[in-house]
Symmetry: C2
Subunit: 115 residues, 2 copies
């Protein structure tokens, strides 16, 4: 392998719609499929009283995770995918829901072997 | 907030014991508790025929994820924790199982606001 998987750390700032676990679950599953991934399992938790959501989707090609802070209009998303998926394709799908004023993406090649 | 959470990307190289989802689940749960976190949900998947494991633990303080490639003696772990947890405390617990020849840790402060 050149590297095991492509891991995007995506921070959504000045975002909305961060407090509805069912809607976030649906959109993140759509984002996974759009990127070419296969969903094995998903679990979302709704924190009270601040309304934050934590969720994970286990993929055949790794995972997606999200943690939201609605009171800060902030969400931290990870999209980790190996194989032929393109995790970048997931970002516009999520952005349609979150409508963030700023999206910061950091890309990490996990398991990169020396050439 | 100064930042929302501390996210460690931990790569275990030249590692062993990467193909037993139940044992990995137990050790990652122990690692979570050692770091001061509270476990809400865990799910582990065993891939065949290569024996890789993908798993996630949803925490009250964010999440832990793992993906293993036993045939490469490689595991990619994420430990994302907010609040008073210390995610670094999880590493020795995992290392007791994986006995990696090399452990690489990258630390990301997610949701860091300008001062």
């Amino acid at each position: 392998m050149r590297y095991a998987g492509n891991h995007l750390l995506i921070d959504f700032w000045d975002a909305i719609n961060l407090d509805d676990p069912q809607r976030i679950d649906e959109v993140l599953c759509e984002a996974a499929v759009t990127a070419g991934a296969t969903i094995l399992h998903s679990h979302f938790h709704h924190f009270t009283p601040n309304g934050g959501v934590s969720g994970v989707i286990v993929l055949a090609e790794s995972h997606i995770s999200i943690h939201t802070w609605p009171e800060k209009n902030f969400a931290a998303v990870d999209v980790f995918m190996c194989g032929a998926c393109d995790p970048h394709l997931s970002i516009p799908v999520m952005q349609r829901l979150f409508q963030a004023g700023r999206v910061e993406v950091d890309e990490q090649r996990r398991g990169r072997e020396a050439a």
